[in-house]
C-alpha cells in the first residue's frame, strides 16, 4: 500500500475532527481514518448531556476564566493548567465552528446556542442538542468528512504499531470483512480510540468496544500511559447492563432507597440528599451495598432509584428516556416500580501521555480524545468537558500531525511483522486440551476490578486485584477462539479486545496501589485525604521488559494555587 501521511485510528469525535483538520492544514496529504466500527457508531454518540463552552449565551457574565477555574478545581488540581487554558479558550470557537457546519444545537429564545447547568460548573455553560448532543456532533463530523472525501477504512481493527527504534513506521490492522492482516505504512499515526472503562464490563456505562485498544497498543510499543488509576464512576447505572440513568432522574426528585426502605443519602449529604456531587453519591451507594443494605439478585447487589412518587404524568413528560431505558433494559416501568441501580464505571481520565499538541514520546505518534491524556481532566472530569476535550485536542492533534508529517520519512513495514501479527491473532484458534472461555475471563476481570479496584480502594484489596489480574493474564494464554473463519470474526475481535483490557487493567491497579492518597475519583480508604506534598504529580506507567514500571511527571501549575476542594 502507498504510504500515508497521516493515519488516524478511531472515528469518534476526536478522530474525525483530527481528520478534518489535517485535510484543512494540508489538502495535498494522503490521510486515512481507520475504525473498528463505522464512524457514526462510535461511542461519542452516547453522550447526551452536552459540551461546555463559555459562550455566555445563557449566563451573560460567564467567562473563559471561570471555565478554567471550574475545570482545575473539578480535577482536584491534577490537571495541567496550561492545557486547561487551551481547552477552555478554544471552546467557544470550536462550538461555533460545529454550529457553522450544521450541528443542530438547541436554541435560546434569542436564537443563539442554548446552554444549561451541569455538575461542577459555576454557571450554565453546557451547550446541548436535546438529549442527543454527542450523537449530533458525531453526525455533523461524519457528514463533513464524507463531504471532504476523507478516506475511511471501516471495520478495520488496529493490532499494533510497527516500530523502528524511537519512531513508528506505521500501523498493522486487520480487515474484519476479509480477516486479512494489512500494513498501513505511515509518516504519522494518531490514536483516537476512546476510553477503557469497559474493562469493568457489566459495571460500565460504556460501549462494548471501549476497551482501550489504542492505549494498549501504545503501551506495548513502549509509550507511557498517564494517570491510569483515575476512573470515574457514575452513581446510577442499571443493574444488569451498567447503562446510564442520567442525573435528570434525581434532578426531578427521584429517591435513592436501600432494602430497609430508607432514603440513605440523609446519612451522607443531609442537605443536598440525592443531588450531592457524583463521586459522593457513588461512594454512598457503594457503602450501602458493602454494608449489606442492598438488594441481592443473581445479577449483583443493587439499590433502588425510586420515581414512583413522582407520578405517571411527570415521568412521562419529563423523563421519557429514562422510562424507556428502564423498560427496555430492565423490564421495569418506573411509574410502577423502582429502578434497580448501582454505580457504574463511566469515564477514563487516564490515557496515552501527550503534550499540549497531541505528541507522544515516540516520533510520529500522536493521541487525542479519551484515549489520550493531556491532561485537562486531572483526577476527575467535569460533565460536558469530555466532548469538548475530544474536539479541541482532536483538532490540535490533526493539525500537528499534518504539519509534522513531512518531517518524517515514510516507513515500510516488514512482511515478517505482518506474519507475526497474523500468527498471534490466529494462535488462539488452535489451542487444544484445556482451554479458557473469553466470556468467563472478561466477566471475572470486570468483577475483580469492581471489587478490588473500584470506588473504594485499599492496600490489601488492591494487592488482591493485582494478583487476580495476573492470574487472569495467565489464564488468557489458554483462551480459545472458537470461530475459525476469516470473514467478520467477532469472536476473534472480542478476544483481542480482552487482551488489551487485561494489559491496561494491570496499569490501573498498579497506579491505584502506588498512589497513597485520595484525590478526585481515586479514593483510598487507608489514605483518605489528598496528599499534595507527596502525590501532587502524574503517574506514568511504562512497559519495560514485559513489566509495568511506574514513573511520575510534574503537574504544570499556573495561576491557580492548590486549594481544598469543597462544594
Amino acid at each position: 500500500m502507498k504510504p500515508f501521511d497521516v493515519v488516524i485510528v478511531g472515528g469518534g469525535g476526536a478522530g474525525l475532527y483530527a481528520a478534518m483538520e489535517a485535510m484543512k492544514t494540508n489538502p495535498s496529504l494522503n490521510i486515512a481514518v481507520l475504525s473498528k466500527v463505522y464512524p457514526n457508531r462510535s461511542h461519542t454518540s452516547a453522550a447526551q448531556g452536552g459540551a461546555n463552552a463559555a459562550l455566555a449565551n445563557k449566563a451573560k457574565d460567564d467567562t473563559v476564566e471561570m471555565h478554567i477555574f471550574d475545570t482545575i478545581k473539578g480535577g482536584d488540581y491534577l490537571a495541567d493548567q496550561d492545557a486547561v487554558e487551551v481547552l477552555c479558550s478554544e471552546a467557544p470557537k470550536i462550538i461555533r465552528e460545529l454550529e457553522n457546519m450544521g450541528t443542530p444545537w438547541s436554541r435560546m429564545p434569542d436564537n443563539t446556542i442554548a446552554q444549561r447547568p451541569f455538575g461542577g460548573a459555576t454557571l450554565p455553560r453546557c451547550c446541548y442538542c436535546s438529549d442527543k448532543t454527542g450523537h449530533t456532533i458525531l453526525q455533523t463530523l461524519y457528514e463533513q468528512c464524507l463531504k471532504k472525501g476523507v478516506i475511511f477504512f471501516n471495520e478495520y481493527f488496529a493490532l499494533n504499531l510497527s516500530v523502528n527504534g524511537s519512531r513508528s513506521r506505521g500501523l498493522i490492522a486487520m480487515n474484519m470483512k476479509s480477516g486479512k492482516v494489512e500494513a498501513f505504512p505511515a509518516r504519522t499515526v494518531i490514536f483516537a480510540t476512546g476510553g477503557y472503562a469497559k474493562m469493568y464490563w457489566n459495571r460500565s456505562s460504556n460501549a462494548a468496544g471501549n476497551t482501550g485498544d489504542g492505549q494498549a497498543i501504545a503501551f506495548r510499543s513502549g509509550i507511557p500511559l498517564k494517570d491510569m488509576e483515575f476512573v470515574q464512576f457514575h452513581p446510577t447505572g442499571l443493574r444488569k447492563s451498567g447503562l446510564l440513568i442520567t442525573e435528570g432522574a434525581r434532578g426531578e426528585g427521584g429517591y435513592l432507597v436501600n432494602k430497609d426502605g430508607e432514603r440513605f443519602m440523609a446519612r451522607y449529604a443531609k442537605e443536598k440528599m440525592e443531588l450531592g456531587p457524583r463521586d459522593l453519591v457513588s461512594r454512598s451507594i457503594e457503602t450501602e451495598i458493602l454494608e449489606g443494605r442492598g438488594f441481592d439478585s443473581p445479577a449483583g447487589t443493587y439499590i433502588h432509584l425510586d420515581l414512583t412518587h413522582l407520578g405517571a404524568d411527570l415521568i412521562k413528560s419529563r423523563l421519557p428516556q429514562i422510562r424507556e431505558m428502564s423498560m427496555q433494559f430492565e423490564g421495569v416501568d418506573p411509574i410502577e416500580e423502582p429502578i434497580p441501580i448501582r454505580p457504574t464505571a463511566h469515564y477514563s481520565m487516564g490515557g496515552i501521555d501527550t503534550d499540549n499538541f497531541g505528541r507522544t514520546v515516540m516520533e510520529g505518534v500522536y493521541a487525542a480524545g479519551e484515549c489520550g491524556c493531556v491532561s485537562v481532566h486531572g483526577a476527575n472530569r467535569l460533565g460536558g468537558n469530555s466532548l469538548l476535550d475530544i474536539l479541541v485536542f482532536g483538532r490540535i492533534a490533526g493539525h500537528t500531525a499534518a504539519e509534522e508529517a513531512r518531517k518524517f520519512e515514510p516507513g515500510t513495514i516488514p512482511e515478517v511483522e505482518l506474519k507475526e501479527q497474523l500468527d498471534a491473532v490466529r494462535g488462539g484458534m488452535h489451542s487444544s486440551g484445556n482451554y479458557e472461555r473469553y466470556g468467563a475471563l472478561r466477566e471475572d476481570l470486570g468483577k475483580t476490578l469492581a471489587r478490588n479496584v473500584g470506588i473504594y480502594r485499599e492496600s490489601s484489596l488492591l494487592q488482591k486485584g493485582i494478583e487476580e489480574i495476573s492470574e487472569l493474564k495467565e489464564r488468557f494464554k489458554k483462551v480459545r477462539v472458537f470461530d475459525t473463519s476469516d470473514v467478520f470474526n467477532t469472536n476473534l475481535m472480542q478476544v483481542l479486545e480482552l487482551k488489551n483490557m487485561l494489559d491496561l487493567a494491570e496499569t490501573v491497579a498498579a497506579g491505584a496501589y502506588a498512589r497513597e492518597e485520595s484525590r478526585g475519583s481515586h479514593t483510598r480508604v487507608d489514605f483518605p485525604v489528598r496528599d499534595d506534598a507527596n502525590w501532587h504529580k502524574h503517574t506514568l506507567a511504562t512497559l519495560i521488559n514485559g513489566k509495568v514500571v511506574l514513573g511520575e511527571k510534574p503537574v504544570t501549575m499556573g495561576r491557580y494555587e492548590l486549594q481544598e476542594r469543597t462544594y
Partner: protein
C-alpha cells in the same frame, strides 16, 4: 413500601428458542437456520440473549453490537420478521406476539448485501449518503468559521430536530418495498437526511441536492407504503420528509422540468395497472382510506391545480384528475378488503 424486583423475576424463566439465520460465505453455499434454546427471564433483550448464545453455546454466531443502548445503530436485524434493534427489544415482548410459540426467528436486515450471519454491508447506504450530498455545505466560508453563530429560530430547529434522531440503523431500509425491487433506490433514511439538509438555512446546495433527488431512483419512486416510518426505531415521521421533498420539488422545480410530473404519472399508472403493487405496498392498509385521501390526495390535487407541472394525460383537467384519484382509491379499498378477508381465514 417498595417491592424487590426479584419477586417478579421469580415469576420464572421461559425457555426460548432462537432460530438464527446462518451463512458463512467461506464455507456455505446456502443459508440455513440454527436453533438455540435458552432460559430467558423478564427484562432480557434479544441482544443479551444473542450474547449469551455466543458466549455459552456457539461462539461463531456473528452479529454487530456496540453501544447496547439503542444509540449507535449497530444491531439492526429482523426479529420475527420485523426490522428492529436487538438491544432495545425485550424477549418477552416478542414472545407475546410470536406466531410460533416459544420461537424467535432472527435474520439479517434485507436490502443490503449479506456479509455473514446477521451482518450486512452498510457501504451501499454510505455511498448513497455521498451521492445525495447528505451534509451541510455551509454558506459560511471555511475561513470565517468559529467566529460567530448563525441565529436560528426554534421554529427552524424543530423542522429538522426529529430527523436528526436518525441513527442509521437501516431498519427502514430493510423494510422498504421499493428497495426490494430496485437496489438503486435512494432509500428512506437517505431521503430523511436529504430533507433535513434541505430545510436547514445554513445550507447552500439545496437546489443541487434537490435536482439529484428528483432524478431516477429518487424521491418520485417512493410508493408511500409507509413501511419505513412504521419500522423506524426512533419513531421518526419519515413520510413527512418524503412529502416535504416532493412538495418542495413541485414548488421550486415544477415549471422548470417535467421529471417530477413524469414520475408521478408513472406512479399513478402503475397503481392503476398493477393491483398487486397496491395490495402489497399502499398505505391504505395501515392508515385507512380516510387518512390516505386526506394526506395524499391534497398533494396530488395541489400539483394539478397549481398547474405548475405540465399536466400529463390523462390528468388534463383538475376535476377529471380528482375523479381518477377517487376511482383509484375505491379500487384500492376493494383490494384491501379482500385481502383482509383472506387473511382472516
Amino acid at each position: 413500601m417498595t417491592v424487590p424486583i426479584d419477586q417478579h423475576l421469580e415469576e420464572g424463566k421461559k425457555d426460548v428458542t432462537f432460530r438464527v439465520f446462518r451463512f458463512n460465505p467461506q464455507v456455505d453455499s446456502k443459508s440455513y437456520f440454527d436453533d438455540y434454546t435458552i432460559p430467558v427471564e423478564r427484562g432480557i433483550t434479544v441482544l443479551r440473549s444473542l450474547n449469551y448464545i455466543k458466549e455459552h453455546i456457539d461462539a461463531s454466531v456473528s452479529f454487530r453490537a456496540f453501544c447496547q443502548a439503542g444509540i449507535c445503530g449497530s444491531c439492526g436485524m429482523r426479529i420475527n420478521g420485523l426490522s428492529q434493534l436487538a438491544c432495545t427489544t425485550q424477549v418477552w415482548d416478542v414472545l407475546a406476539k410470536s406466531r410460533e410459540q416459544g420461537i424467535i426467528k432472527v435474520e439479517p436486515l434485507r436490502n443490503l448485501p449479506l456479509v455473514k450471519d446477521l451482518i450486512v454491508d452498510m457501504d451501499p447506504l454510505v455511498d448513497k449518503m455521498k451521492h445525495y450530498s447528505n451534509w451541510i455545505d455551509s454558506t459560511m466560508p471555511e475561513a470565517s468559521m468559529g467566529k460567530k453563530e448563525f441565529l436560528i429560530s426554534e421554529e427552524e430547529f424543530l423542522r429538522y430536530d426529529k430527523a436528526t434522531d436518525c441513527i442509521l440503523c437501516a431498519s427502514c431500509v430493510s423494510e422498504c418495498s421499493i428497495l426490494r425491487a430496485n437496489k438503486e433506490y435512494v432509500s428512506p433514511a437517505v431521503l430523511l437526511k436529504s430533507f433535513r439538509m434541505n430545510v436547514d438555512s445554513r445550507d447552500s446546495i439545496h437546489d443541487q441536492r434537490l435536482a439529484e433527488l428528483v432524478k431516477d431512483h429518487g424521491v418520485w419512486d417512493c410508493t408511500h407504503c409507509y413501511r419505513c416510518q412504521e419500522s423506524c426505531v426512533k419513531s421518526i415521521p419519515i413520510m413527512d420528509a418524503i412529502h416535504g421533498i416532493r412538495e418542495d420539488a413541485i414548488e421550486t422545480r415544477g415549471v422548470k422540468d417535467t421529471s417530477g410530473a413524469k414520475h408521478a404519472e408513472a406512479f399513478m399508472s402503475d397503481i392503476e395497472k398493477k393491483g398487486k403493487l397496491v395490495e402489497a405496498t399502499l398505505p391504505i392498509r395501515t392508515n385507512g382510506v380516510v387518512w390516505t385521501l386526506q394526506n395524499l390526495l391534497p398533494m396530488a390535487v395541489k400539483m394539478i391545480m397549481k398547474r405548475r407541472t405540465p399536466p400529463p394525460p390523462p390528468l388534463v383537467k383538475s376535476a377529471k384528475g380528482i375523479k381518477i384519484f377517487r376511482e383509484m382509491f375505491r379500487e384500492m379499498t376493494e383490494h384491501v378488503k379482500q385481502d383482509h378477508k383472506s387473511h382472516k381465514k
